[in-house]
Symmetry: D2
Subunit: 135 residues, 4 copies
Amino acid sequence: MYRHRYQFRVRYRDVDYLGVVYYSRYLEFFEAARDEMMRALGMPYSEFERNGYAMPVVEAHCVYQKSAHFDELLTIISRISAPPSARLKINYEIIRENEETVLASGYTVHAFINKAGKAVRPPHFFRQLLQARLG
Amino acid sequence: MYRHRYQFRVRYRDVDYLGVVYYSRYLEFFEAARDEMMRALGMPYSEFERNGYAMPVVEAHCVYQKSAHFDELLTIISRISAPPSARLKINYEIIRENEETVLASGYTVHAFINKAGKAVRPPHFFRQLLQARLG
Amino acid sequence: MYRHRYQFRVRYRDVDYLGVVYYSRYLEFFEAARDEMMRALGMPYSEFERNGYAMPVVEAHCVYQKSAHFDELLTIISRISAPPSARLKINYEIIRENEETVLASGYTVHAFINKAGKAVRPPHFFRQLLQARLG
Amino acid sequence: MYRHRYQFRVRYRDVDYLGVVYYSRYLEFFEAARDEMMRALGMPYSEFERNGYAMPVVEAHCVYQKSAHFDELLTIISRISAPPSARLKINYEIIRENEETVLASGYTVHAFINKAGKAVRPPHFFRQLLQARLG
């Protein structure tokens, strides 16, 4: 299993009238965590795109367990459990720094497409990078 | 089953570099559809809040099937199939006007809380409004 | 002077912890008003793009006078006072339906670029559409 | 003059179809820079609020000079030149790391209100913190 941690701070733009993070913002947080996970893997998503590929989201899910508030420092733990086949699944857990409680958890499922927008198998260079980490 | 249709237009702010709607924006679209469904039920969410209640999202799911683009006129069909118990589930389908193809579908699950943030049963006035429609 | 009215409703995603619309959202509202103004002019921005042009924002300004709240039905009055030269300026005023009070006012200034990203003069077809309205 | 630097990365959620940061997102970046400037001053905005005050934006301005793209690492230089009277003005410049070119610049003007929403003079503790830095 490949695991990556990404830390960020909740901004005023993220919170709603109840003082808690608005529900769609979690998907934006997941994206930032995913971006940093790709960078840590050695293949920033911007480079992945320059290589002629994209990894569009085909499914997203989030369970909201505890509220997150303005100015809190949160951590997203992203996990990939299986090498990508036609699809890649990434799991996310959001916790407060130095706490165990999970505030929210979810996943995204990604397809792979080439520049023409055609569905393709995950590019070889990406499968190799992931396999090196998945062991 | 209670069913509601909400029409809206995709804005530039909604689309990403691939020219398609960014994935978290669908949850914002679901919220707008939900707001208008509540209004059509006779209980706008703003009034629901003034009555001392909130309906926070505890789970959200979206499957992205076909791309939606800038300036397209889309319709969200929201559906409630069962009266709320501790939770309320709302299903959504996004289609293009005058087309059958589903671009995206998903659901949200809501809890009910009072002003103190305590989980409560759905308020009587809301159960009545829904039961009148659910038959 | 060319003047256009666009009506919309404030969503939960737009409001912050103070219960008022978050400040960057006004620029998103301006965009929606601008989109509908272009459509009313006979040249939706999507068609403008298909013709090989874009109209990027080079300056934006907003003055926040009164608060706007969740679920309010607002109107944006967009105004163009002068035909576009190298730049086009659009003014916006946000009011509540059936009220005179201005909640927020602002403007955007736009350049014109072609597909290669080069600054160009406003396309002839667009100057003609505007001149017909500006008289 | 008090000056603060804040570094961040452009996310996919921030860019539009032209591949450049959507114009309202700059105001969100300014907010993040402002949040971190307040923290560096010794008064995080969340604490400012807990002390019973808020600092709503009454005016915002942005000039977009050069494009910012997905995955770029940017720096915002925030500056306060004068102690707050009834209003506080903050200037922002966005640059690429290790480059001089300004991509965008702007300002926000803030009022001070208390818990009741009444306009007040800037709280003493905040004036003191700023004066210590402004010299």
